[in-house]
Structures are given as structure tokens and as C-alpha cells.
């Protein structure tokens, strides 16, 4: 594969915009990304649009930018939609199908618990409330407590950290400190998960423009953000060796593959944006991404190792918990954050990197969907690297 570069990123701030047109949010995010790249809409040769609702096709929401005739492919991959669009755009450029490609994710969500809003036909899943994600992650949390001594306070500390980071992110949905007592005292959603341990429902859009070496030579300005690994997995057979719901196996396999592709390890990372849809997911994924041994995840957050100033900052953007989780936009927004961080443009939430001279390597982790056998359905792991010269 030929080298692939991030040329520009843009986001419509995440939040609640029930009266805003999706097309306005998409146009804002794409326009920002194009401006960031120094490109025009007519320069986009291929677009992947991640969306989660019926009828929300990219052809409908991108046409307002101009009828350029650009091919547009829709991507639906649940919470992993945004990173799946990004993966596809990168692969197209890497294969030489386009010099410049766009990945955009967007969502306008109904209020309430993710998965619970719709009236559905009577099935085992619908009459038992099994589509409701908080129950699934309540079970994940219970499992961490039983197997590794994780406490409700540990879960709360994840929320405290990510909400603190979100205070410094002008594009985050919630910009408020949440003291640990407030997290623990907030409304019980799915035991042991309280409201502040759950990502909110969110509207928003995020866009990434990627390009070939040739495009980077023309448009990037001396700082090059290159894709060094892109690994995907769907549900592997994990037998009974792992607990269910199994949020571990797929991420372990995908991150291992990504490290191998990049010729590096978790110890080389300067920051991570991971999928903290619920607080226990962050603790589990510290372990699944190899940031620490299995069973040691809670220790990282207790010791502050994953704070912005810590050994390995995780979710400096505020994560899903604070920034919000507009399903199909989330994975693209993680790429935006890595790019800003690697360029040193993250303002008050800027991480210093292991060298203290600014971060050079960042990892984004974006899983989605729950299967009938209680595993995640899909995961993407991407690693980006800042370089001072073209590869």
C-alpha cells in the first residue's frame, strides 16, 4: 500500500441540535476539513459517508456542497461507522484509486437510552430490553468487579477524568467538571452504572480528508500526519475462555495486528482515543489495547496515568463520555482529535508526548454493535504518526 496522509480534519461541535438540519452539520464539518487541508470540494475524488439511520445517505447530505459528481459510498457499521469510513477512504488512497478522499460521519439521535427508542416487533431481545446498551455494559462492569476487584469508585474516576478533559474541548457536548461524589450519586441507570458513567446521546458530524504522498507533498505544510496502521476485526470465536459480553477479544486481536503493522508497541504511544461509551469500557480497553496487563486497568486511572499529564494520556478530547457519542460520527472525531494533538493544536488539552516535545504517535479505537452471542460486532484500530518529512 502507498503511504496515506491526513490532509485535513473538521468537526461540527457535538451536542444536542434537534432543530438543526443534518446537512448543515455535515456541510460545516466537511467545509472545516477542506479549509484545514487547503482544498476545495471539487478536489475530493471519492467520499465515504457513515450514517446509522435509514434514509440518511451521504448523497443526500453532501449534495449541498455542490454537484461535483464525486462518487459517494455509504457506510453503516453501528458505533464503528466513522472509523470504517475513514478506513475505507485510506484504503482507496493507499491502493491508488484516488489522490484525495473524504470520510465523514454524522448523526442526529433521538433522546434516551441507546438502543431503546424504537418500538420493535416482539422478539426475545425486544421484550427483555436486550437492545438497551446500558444493561450490556452494566454486565461488563459487574464482570470487571467480580474478576478484577474493580470498584464503582474506579468507574467513577474514568468519568471524572474524561469530563475534566472535555472542559478544555470547545467541541465537546458536556464541558463540566464532575467530582467523584457527583458521579457516584447521579441517577442509577443500569447497576452499577450511574448516569454520569454513560455517554450521552448526541448530534454532530466529523470529517477527515486523506490523501496520497503526492497530495501531501502539495498541500501539507511541513508537518505530515501519516497512517501507520489500520486493523479491523469482526467477532472472533472466543469460546468460554472470556467473559460475556465479550468486549475484549476483538480489540486485543485488532490492536495486536495494528502494532505489528506499525512496527511498534503500546509503549511507543503518546496518546490514545478509545471508545469509552460507558466507563467500564475504558478500563477494559486499557488492558485490551495492551496499555497495561489484564486486571490492572483500574490502577491506571487510580494513579492518574491516563490523565492529560500522565504516562499515557487516554481520551484527552473528553472521550465519548464528555465529548458525546453521535454514533457514526464518533470514529471520525477520534481521528480529528489525534490529528490536532499530533500537530500540537489541541490548546489547553494538548498532551506533551513521551519526549515532552509534543506527541508523535497516537492510536484510535472504535468498536461497534453487539452480536447475538454477546460480543462486539466490529472494531477498527488506527495508528497515526507525525513526521517532519514525507515517507
Amino acid at each position: 500500500m502507498e503511504p496515506v496522509y491526513i490532509l485535513g480534519v473538521g468537526m461540527h461541535p457535538f451536542g444536542r441540535y434537534p432543530d438543526k438540519l443534518i446537512s448543515d452539520m455535515v456541510e460545516d464539518a466537511v467545509t472545516d476539513a477542506l479549509k484545514d487541508a487547503g482544498l476545495a470540494w471539487q478536489d475530493i475524488e471519492l467520499a465515504y459517508a457513515a450514517n446509522g439511520q435509514p434514509g440518511q445517505h451521504g448523497q443526500r447530505f453532501l449534495r449541498g456542497l455542490g454537484l461535483s459528481g464525486v462518487p459517494i459510498i455509504n457506510v453503516e457499521n453501528a458505533c464503528a461507522g466513522g472509523s470504517s469510513a475513514f478506513f475505507s477512504a485510506c484504503m482507496a488512497v493507499g491502493a491508488g484509486a484516488a489522490d484525495v478522499a473524504l470520510a465523514v460521519g454524522y448523526e442526529q439521535m433521538a433522546r434516551g437510552m441507546i438502543g431503546a427508542n424504537m418500538a420493535r416487533p416482539m422478539t426475545h431481545e425486544s421484550v427483555n430490553g436486550l437492545f438497551a446498551m446500558p444493561g450490556m455494559f452494566g454486565m461488563v462492569a459487574r464482570n470487571l468487579m467480580h474478576e478484577h476487584g474493580v470498584t464503582a469508585r474506579d468507574l467513577a474516576l474514568v468519568s471524572v477524568k474524561n469530563h475534566h478533559n472535555g472542559v478544555f474541548n470547545p467541541r465537546a457536548q458536556y464541558r463540566m467538571e464532575t467530582p467523584v461524589e457527583d458521579v457516584l450519586a447521579s441517577r442509577m441507570i443500569a447497576d452499577p452504572l450511574t448516569l454520569l458513567m454513560c455517554a450521552p446521546t448526541t448530534d454532530g458530524a466529523a470529517a477527515v480528508v486523506v490523501g496520497s504522498r503526492r497530495a501531501a507533498a502539495r498541500y501539507a505544510n511541513g508537518v505530515y500526519i501519516r497512517l501507520v496502521a489500520a486493523a479491523q476485526r469482526s467477532e472472533p470465536y472466543a469460546g468460554t475462555e472470556v467473559s460475556r459480553p465479550d468486549i475484549r477479544t476483538m480489540t486485543m486481536q485488532a490492536s495486536r495486528a495494528a502494532y505489528e503493522q506499525g512496527g511498534l508497541g503500546p509503549e511507543d504511544l503518546d496518546l490514545v482515543e478509545l471508545h469509552d461509551c460507558f466507563a467500564p469500557a475504558e478500563i477494559s480497553h486499557y488492558e485490551n489495547l495492551g496499555l497495561c496487563a489484564v486486571g490492572d486497568g483500574a490502577k491506571l486511572v487510580r494513579e492518574g496515568a491516563t490523565n492529560i499529564e500522565g504516562r499515557i494520556p487516554v481520551n484527552p478530547s473528553g472521550g465519548l463520555l464528555s465529548k458525546g457519542h453521535p454514533i457514526s460520527a464518533t470514529g471520525a472525531a477520534q481521528i480529528c482529535e489525534l490529528t490536532w494533538q499530533l500537530r500540537g493544536e489541541a490548546g489547553q488539552r494538548q498532551v506533551a508526548g513521551r519526549s515532552g516535545q509534543g506527541p508523535t504517535i497516537g492510536l484510535a479505537h472504535n468498536p461497534g454493535g453487539i452480536t447475538a452471542s454477546l460480543s462486539f460486532a466490529h472494531v477498527n484500530v488506527h495508528i497515526l504518526k507525525r513526521e517532519d518529512a514525507l515517507a
Partner: protein
């Protein structure tokens, strides 16, 4: 079908598959119907045509044990939406069956949180969940403490 004819009792689909469990009858008690791979020995629920482990088209239908243990659980306080049938709050459970299969459902009886624990023995329960759009009396499986 005329309105005077009684529609048959109907088990709900599980993971999109009909026939995932058997209603109690004269000859046999209620049971979950799983798959057992004649090639590698893996169990699956609900039964598909191919083995989840080795992909062999060798899945035979077997009734699974009606007793299991709590693998993990969560009591859900948030409104589960209009399709839910039962009392709220409700407790969602992952149940480990002796065959090594884990199935997810809810408890058919309310349990105080302090009585719930990993490993708690449960037994299969069949519950009436009302009638569907075609007027069939529908049933589903849940679990209760053994």
C-alpha cells in the same frame, strides 16, 4: 383464521431464529434448543446451520440444560422502551449453562440487589408475553432462582 379460532401458542424468535426454545408439552418440559457440532463438539445457542467454531455444517439440535448459573448481571432502571414486557426495574442476566453456552435474558421475578451474585443458580422459566399482531399467544424464556 376466524376470530373464534384460537391462534396457537408461539415461542418468540431469539437472535432472529424461530424455534430457539420448546414450550412445555405433554411429553417434555420446556427447554432451550441449542446446536451441538458433530465435528468439533462445540455448543451454540440459538442453533445455526454452521458451527461457530469450525464452520462445519454439522449442527445437531439438542435440548440444553434448564439449569445454569449467573455469569454476570445488571439491574436496569432506565426505561427500556415500548417493546419491553414485564415489571420495572428489571434485571438482565447472562446465564452460563453446563454445556458452556452463555445465554442472555432477564429474571422473571424481582430480586433485591443484595441477593444477586455471580454463580447464583437459576432455572429456566417460560413466561407469557402477550399476543403479537396476528393474535398469537406469545411466550418467551426467562430465568428465576433455582
Amino acid at each position: 383464521m376466524t376470530s373464534s379460532e384460537k391462534a396457537p401458542a408461539k415461542p418468540l424468535t431469539t437472535a432472529g431464529r424461530p424455534g430457539a426454545f420448546m414450550l412445555p408439552g405433554a411429553a417434555a418440559p420446556a427447554a432451550l434448543l441449542g446446536g451441538h457440532c458433530r465435528s468439533c463438539g462445540a455448543y451454540d445457542f440459538p442453533r445455526g446451520r454452521f458451527c461457530p467454531r469450525c464452520s462445519a455444517a454439522a449442527m445437531e439440535e439438542v435440548p440444553l440444560s434448564t439449569r445454569g448459573n449467573i455469569h454476570t448481571w445488571s439491574t436496569v432502571y432506565q426505561d427500556p422502551g415500548p417493546s419491553f414486557v414485564g415489571a420495572k426495574p428489571f434485571t438482565i442476566v447472562t446465564v452460563e449453562l453446563p454445556e458452556g453456552v452463555r445465554v442472555v435474558s432477564t429474571l422473571s421475578v424481582a430480586m433485591p440487589p443484595e441477593e444477586l451474585r455471580v454463580g447464583l443458580p437459576l432455572v429456566l422459566d417460560v413466561v407469557s408475553v402477550g399476543s403479537d399482531a396476528d393474535g398469537n399467544d406469545c411466550y418467551d424464556f426467562r430465568f428465576r432462582p433455582a
